[in-house]
């Protein structure tokens, strides 16, 4: 149940957003990802762990190496995050319109 919130926390961090951007075009190992940042290696590992836990990244074993893959499907769900909020307002405004249509016919 906390998954959704975790996704938001995950993308709220600028380093994690940079990692997602980096992996959007290629799959890399933890070492190769860390090489792109000034941040300490354990910090990058922690970021990767968080992104993996909320399914924005997937791990895949290739030989001895673990590669991180970007999970586009999960990212799409996050991109749709405005939809429940929009639906809430749509519903509210539909009610407003229906109520006022009655006042219109009363004229």
């Amino acid at each position: 149940m906390n998954l959704r919130r975790d996704v938001f926390q995950a993308i709220a961090d600028p380093t994690r957003r940079a990692i997602l951007l980096l992996l959007a075009s290629q799959s890399l190992t933890a070492g190769a990802i860390a090489a792109n940042f000034d941040t300490a290696r354990p910090t990058v590992s922690k970021h990767l762990q968080i992104l993996t836990e909320c399914e924005l990244l997937r791990q895949e074993q290739t030989g001895r190496e673990i590669y991180y893959h970007f999970n586009a499907q999960k990212m799409k769900e996050v991109a749709d995050f405005l939809e429940p909020f929009r639906a809430l307002w749509e519903d509210r405004f539909n009610k407003l319109e229906a109520v006022m249509q009655q006042y219109k016919s009363q004229k």
């Binding site: 959704r4 929009r86 307002w89 405004f93 539909n94 009610k95 407003l96 006022m100 006042y103 219109k104």
Partner: protein
């Protein structure tokens, strides 16, 4: 189907713009926001107070049939130009969003149609994020309540 209600929430900002076109003359759309009895109908809440004038205030409250307060919101009216503009604050009591500043612009498109542009400014980007997450949280709570209900009947 075309979406009548549009939300603009640019990244890195602390505001939101909600727009909607109505099959209503602008005068009726404006009434929907300024007459307590009508607000109560479409908002589905009790309107305790609605003084539509400069420095006026408003308060909404919704209770369940047992009398527990489910929703409580209030604000102050800063400016009113009939059929054109309402500037007000809004705050949902006991929500993590805090007070927000709202500009409600009413626009006539033709005799029978009008547009509402609701520009909401939050205290910070983080406060806006809380607002956007709220429908999710609500949905999750609802699902949780359903689950609870089912589990209770199974007992």
């Amino acid at each position: 189907m075309e979406q009548k209600t549009q939300i603009q929430a640019a990244e890195g900002r602390q505001d939101l713009i909600i727009t909607r076109e109505f099959d209503l003359p602008v005068a009726l759309l404006y009434r929907a926001y300024t007459e307590a009895e009508i607000v109560a109908q479409w908002m589905g809440t009790k309107v305790l107070q609605l003084e539509n004038r400069q420095h006026g205030g408003y308060a909404f409250e919704t209770s369940d049939p047992q009398g527990h307060v489910l929703f409580k919101a209030h604000g102050t009216i800063h400016d009113v130009i009939p059929h054109r503009l309402i500037v007000r604050t809004f705050e949902m009591v006991q929500a993590p969003i805090g007070p927000q500043l709202e500009f409600l612009e009413f626009e006539s498109l033709d005799e029978e149609r009008s547009r509402l542009t609701l520009h909401i400014i939050y205290r910070s980007e983080a406060h806006r994020a809380e607002e956007l997450k709220l429908p999710f949280a609500y949905g999750i709570n609802m699902a949780h309540d359903r689950l609870q209900e089912i589990l209770t009947t199974l007992k």
